[in-house]
Amino acid sequence: MTLQHYLVISAILFTLGIFAVLTRRNAISILMGIELILNSCNLNFAAFSRFMTPEDISGQIIAIFGIVLAAAEAAVFLAIILAIYREFGSIRPDEVDTLKG
């Protein structure tokens, strides 16, 4: 495995994540798409750290921070989805549209 393999995989993950966010009509699926995006970044950091700066692990540390922040983001996102479900009875983004103009 070379650096290119990892970068291609992470680019595919990132694209899939963006695609999921744009096309999915369910808040949970959107959250999964966002997780894909964040994980592709973590993969990037870890791979760069391993191949570009093997003696310096700061890239891997950034990846660990990325995992923590992704978890925090998922927690807040799920809480907000719960609030949305209570108010609207649905978690489909197109049904949540009282604000416009």
Partner: protein
Amino acid sequence: MQPLSNIDSLLHFSPEILLVIFATAVIILDLIVKNRESVAVAHLALVGCLCTLAAVLFIHFSFGKGEPVSLFLGMIQLDVFSTFFKVLLLLATAATILFSLRSEELDAKLKGEYYALLLVITLGMFLMASATNLLMIFIALETVSLTSYILAGFLTHNPRSSEAAFKYITYGAVASGTMLFGLSLLFGMAGTGDLTQIGGRLAELLASGEVSSLTLLIAITFVLAGIGYKIASVPFHMWSPDVYEGAPIPITAFLSVASKSAGFALFIRFFYTGFGSTGLMEAVDWPFMLAIVSALTMTVGNLAALPQQNVKRLLAYSSIAHGGYLLMGGVLLTSEGIGAILFYLVVYLFMNLGAFYVVVLVANEMGSETINGYRGLSSRAPLVAVAMMTFLFSLTGIPPFAGFFGKWILFTAVLEQGYYWLALVGLLNSVVSLYYYARIVKAMFLEDTSEETDRVSFSTGTFALLSVFVIPTVFIGFLNIFYTFSNISVSVIPMQ
């Protein structure tokens, strides 16, 4: 400049530590105080802001008068630039706490969390203003973002607030994920996360052909997505009207001023420290990209504001447009441009917070957020109407108010650098903006309500707080102190 070790940094880090202590104390006090009507929690948060302000100023004046100090092994930098933004952010937080005390929207049961979160978001913004490492930039940005999602959705059992939080987090998470991807590419190319070294490394690699300018362009564009989302610039502005309309009014005021200021601090630090060298700008012409973004942002913001009926939404679009004006200063690569941004942010803080305070008052007394609710305000509450007129004319940029001086300095800097088309777009936009600001003034002074004509009385405290915003909005332009302060703050930002 040798970075300080972690232990040595702690003393310089005391404002941030104080914020954490007070955020914890607020939660604990909230558990102890049984009386739900008590304002002790809010007052403790306010004291926290003042103590932090004192600490920020003490550190600034006692350690080398704002000489740059690199803390935590190069993670953040303490200098006069970050001190400037810390003072600005603390003023915005203190004002938001005072607004929240007077707003009737908020749930009394959740006060502890609310004020603790306000202090935490201020901490995140402090870090945004001083981060010099890619990791720190991302953590600071996420701290601010995650907290503001929660605060935007803070009105439980209000569908609009929940919807605002939902839209905010969906756009925000994608934007920050995209930004992290861009940061990972930058990290991979440069092999370091240190913002002060990245520029030099990348310039070398570009010169030797090891890094292609296309990759660099992609990375910078991705990072711009995250920063552009924070300052609500086109095309990442879509969240802002919905969030501003749905969120509690004090939070809207806070987001429109503090979040934007912190975003600009990050923007200036990131691009000028990291990517200010000529070699990099030849490969990726980010100033030109930003000039386009700036022109689009102000045009879209102003045109979309024209038909709005909800005043919060109107001010949201006006805030997008102001982001566009501010960005003009960022494309110039001169210290005059950055100084103009900083000065305009001070002016913007007072006039925009003031306008939102009037929105809070009107929402409390008339129960309305639409322009119709402002009809006949001049006869019902003349002083409030005059204050609102001051803020709105200042936002337009009409002399002799502070907004005029802010715009004057900004446009002069733009013209000096020969960006005539950009200045022209900005000027035309200012004219357009007069139309929608004047609509509110017209409703207040020239239209009468048929139903109620009783005078509304406000407490002395309300007028005192209002004058805290009116007086600077009228006089800042005539005082040199803020302008001098913003120009001194620029001195640590490297220029070509």
